[in-house]
Symmetry: C2
Subunit: 540 residues, 2 copies
């Protein structure tokens, strides 16, 4: 990366994009009002210069020295992912267990050499893409002491689009390419991967594949799982690469074992990905519902219609107020259709009709645009602004951390029949925890994805914390939320992965025989157990 | 099944639906003309009464006796699947290695007890649904002699729809339910699984899941993989059952290890399946192309359009002639859209437009129907007739076997960019083999499924064989076809599974590290190695 622009070593994104002090102060005042308390105190993050990291316990062999860094910045900025807990600890300067070495391989050969070193020297290897894990997936300090040390393998120098097959609309892309980096290389060919998780700017293709990233869009081909045509991964037992196939029925899918393996089976060096033509037609509408239950029914009808909306984001009244200024207590369903090929107005019209059948209203009507539509640019601008705000949200969290506000999100998926009780149960459990622990705060819910058989609800929690006690308070809230999700039939994660933080609930959710199969597969591919120990399964 | 209706013990389907002798004779005359030879000789299949099966090598423990059969009919009819080779051997009465016992469990407890017996007594267990495998997936004779015997576990008594969740549109269905059996139970609820492989009448849900069945429809959610919400499977290490989840990112998918496991990891006893409302709207058209290359380009454009056609079946000129009477040398693209929710005319119109852009013509126009359309019933009738003919095709193969005609299909999937060479290469290789081995015959191609990144081509071979030599002739043709598919970047199977017959090519296609992981998973779940030994991987 250019020297003039630096990633924050403790918080989100670029240092120079952090919220300015004035904005932080205003946010603090607004929250103080909402929490009904006194003025919010705002503190400063620990200074990088003041950090005294423990000494490295291992040194790379001389052949690998030039790939490796032991600098304070590199080690500090690779100590944690970007969960609330991570950001708070970074902010405080609590970095008791940084990685011993941060390695930056240039190519697959370097990756092989690094894993060889680790396997031979009993060094744990943590694959690291953009470092946006919110589940302890890249945390050196969570690796147990049976290892001689921990090397963090930062893949972001493997960042090229190597090949584009325009006939098949696929591209061979290196695993360390960050979202904007790969999109920039696809654009001249007229293509896009069109995978936009909230972490888009600071997460990589390899990370998306390893964690089964959900993407931004609501339905049909949105998961990274479905966009992968073939995957190439370095394991301690050799390189595994699946054939480029649009579909296959030849035994269990090799790719589906890699997808979700979270760096425990190997390091994804490249993949052939299904890319798309750039969108030319759009239609969208905001549908309001006085009744949340009716809004859920309408969303279900759209999800089961076979229309496959691009956006189908149901915001409860709390989210509708915060995100869209809807102040009459309505829920808001943000519906949208997009296509590179054809106008999508008939799709949009039918989806709106389904919503009206369930009591929805479309006060602002349907917005539609095509490539020749003079107004399209303006709307693209508005959509761009929204997307920008979506992508910038994590910067806001850094600001909230500076005033000891607790912010957490938890997300799941469940069947439509399970949703009402899951929603009520999770909301009640978290509200109870907030009342007891924080004396205030709120929880809101939106759907990020919808399926014919159920939604993916995403809950956001905001509450007043106390400096020094935030992490204990957060842990209780997180446990209450996770417990409620599991009890009511949800998955512990729809698109945030398992890492080490979700293990207690993941272990209960996962069928035991499958756990045995997974452990066996891990031992076959990584006999020394060096890859991301503690993630998904216990170290051997 | 009712006593008055019996499955053919050697050929396809119901005995009383076999082609009548007169029809067989006419077929023989037509083929003799086409092969340019003399009259075709028609022989009779071996008589069941005349079979002398080798004695059973094992006996079930007394507690399991009432589930087990050693009758000649049961053992003979479970000796093979339904590949060409299987039907020829059955027809000839060559049943040198039938299963020692055929077991019919009534419920999951019986399945557990049967596997316990097998594991304790070193008896190989072959899970058997409808017995329609065309890849040696259920063949006792291919199990090596290190086992004390082979029991075929016929699951068709586990045939009930146990629960329907109308809100989530999902149903819990037992693994042994044949296609018509489960559809009949879903119909009163207004639902359908809408999964119609050609074997539909004689294959089971568990078999579809274990072999990654492709289904009849061309795009989007058509594979059984995508219709499964959760799967329950008995393994020798216990029962594994995934959560009912519409989506999840919690580690590698447990279901995706079961899908394609072909009975090597366990026996699928039930699954929650995503069902659908019954179709109410249809639109379809037959598009003709003078140039096959243009037809492929048009099909690709439709596959990449995001329209998600229900049917998108490109028949080359040979198939168009045979299946639809198109006698001007055109290729025919059979396009169709269906919905339970909305008229699909805009979808159909855009797809037809894309075809016209590539030189296609729609001589008979677009046919469209809705629930209130008086003509719909008639068209449903025509569609029903086509479907009936599709489902009845395997009966025709039995007739061809009786006259020593070699019939084989092979199917694959590849990228659009690889298709022209794969098509030319496979066609040339098979035509060369036919000329050398049979002195005649032909190969045709159609697409059964299309994806944004490639088609699934399906090749049909018909050639004159010689009584007694058919299987050697067939084996050479099959090897030539398989070799060509693999060489040109295809998969050895898109939806026919691997079994034992496809192993040589599957082993080359499968990445070695993944093979190691699969073997390890197998040993973890089936430590005694009793489940379907030789399928997918070598016995331990």
């Amino acid at each position: 990366m250019p020297a003039e622009r630096r990633r924050s070593w403790w918080g989100w994104g670029w240092e120079d994009e952090a919220l300015p002090p004035d904005t932080v102060r205003k946010l603090g005042q607004a929250l103080a009002g909402r929490f009904g308390g006194a003025e919010v105190e705002i503190r400063e993050p620990a200074a990088l210069d003041a950090l005294e990291l423990r000494g490295s316990r291992v040194s790379p062999p001389s052949a690998l020295t030039e790939l490796c860094s032991g600098s304070t910045f590199d080690r500090a900025s690779h100590t944690y992912g970007k969960s609330y807990r991570d950001v708070v600890r970074g902010f405080r300067g609590e970095l008791s267990a940084p990685p011993d070495v941060v390695a930056y391989p240039h190519d697959e050969t370097d990756v092989v050499a690094l894993l060889d070193w680790c396997a031979g020297a009993n060094v744990a290897a943590i694959p690291y893409g953009g470092g946006s894990s919110v589940v302890g997936g890249v945390e050196a300090g969570l690796v147990d002491d049976s290892y001689a040390g921990v090397v963090c393998i930062d893949l972001t120098r493997l960042d090229r689009v190597l090949e584009v097959d325009g006939v098949s609309r696929a591209a061979r892309i290196q695993g360390g390419a960050l979202g904007p980096v790969l999109e920039e290389q696809l654009r001249p060919h007229g293509y896009t991967l069109r995978h936009f998780p909230q972490s888009f700017e600071f997460s990589t293709l390899g990370g998306w594949l390893a964690t089964r990233s959900g993407g931004h869009y609501a339905s049909v081909y949105t998961h990274i799982d479905d966009l992968a045509e073939s995957i190439r991964m370095v394991t301690p037992c050799g390189v595994t690469e699946s054939r480029r196939l649009p579909g296959s029925g030849a035994g269990p899918s090799p790719d589906r074992l890699v997808l979700g393996s979270e760096g425990t089976l190997g390091i994804i060096t490249e993949a052939w990905m299904r890319v798309q033509d750039r969108v030319r037609f759009k239609a969208s509408a905001g549908v309001r519902f006085a009744s949340y239950d009716h809004a859920v029914d309408a969303t279900r009808a759209v999800a089961q219609s076979g229309l496959f909306p691009t956006n189908c984001r149901l915001l409860d009244s709390g989210e509708a107020l915060i995100a869209a200024g809807v102040d009459d207590g309505s829920s808001l369903l943000v519906l949208g259709f997009e296509s590179a090929d054809h106008p999508v107005d008939p799709w949009m019209a039918r989806a709106a009709e389904l919503c009206r059948d369930h009591g929805g209203t479309v006060p602002e009507g349907i917005r539609s645009s095509g490539p020749d539509d003079a107004a399209a640019a303006g709307r693209e601008g508005a959509a761009g602004a929204w997307r920008n705000s979506f992508l910038r949200a994590p910067y806001g969290r850094d600001a909230l951390v500076s005033m000891a506000v607790i912010v957490e999100t938890f997300e799941t998926a469940c069947t439509w029949s399970a949703f009402p009780e899951l929603h009520a149960g999770a909301t009640a459990a978290v509200e109870k925890a907030l009342a007891e622990i924080c004396g205030g705060g709120w929880v809101t819910c939106r759907f990020t994805h919808v399926y014919p058989d159920g939604p993916a609800p995403y809950f956001s929690v905001t509450a007043p914390g106390r400096f020094g006690a935030e992490l204990d308070m957060w842990a209780e809230i997180k446990a209450a939320a996770s417990e409620a999700v599991l009890t009511h039939g949800g998955t512990i994660t729809h698109h945030h992965a398992v890492g080490r933080d979700h293990r207690p609930w993941y272990d209960r959710q996962r069928p035991d025989p499958f756990a045995g199969a997974l452990v066996a597969a891990k031992h076959a591919l990584d006999p020394a157990g060096i890859l991301n120990p503690g993630v998904l399964i216990d170290p051997a």
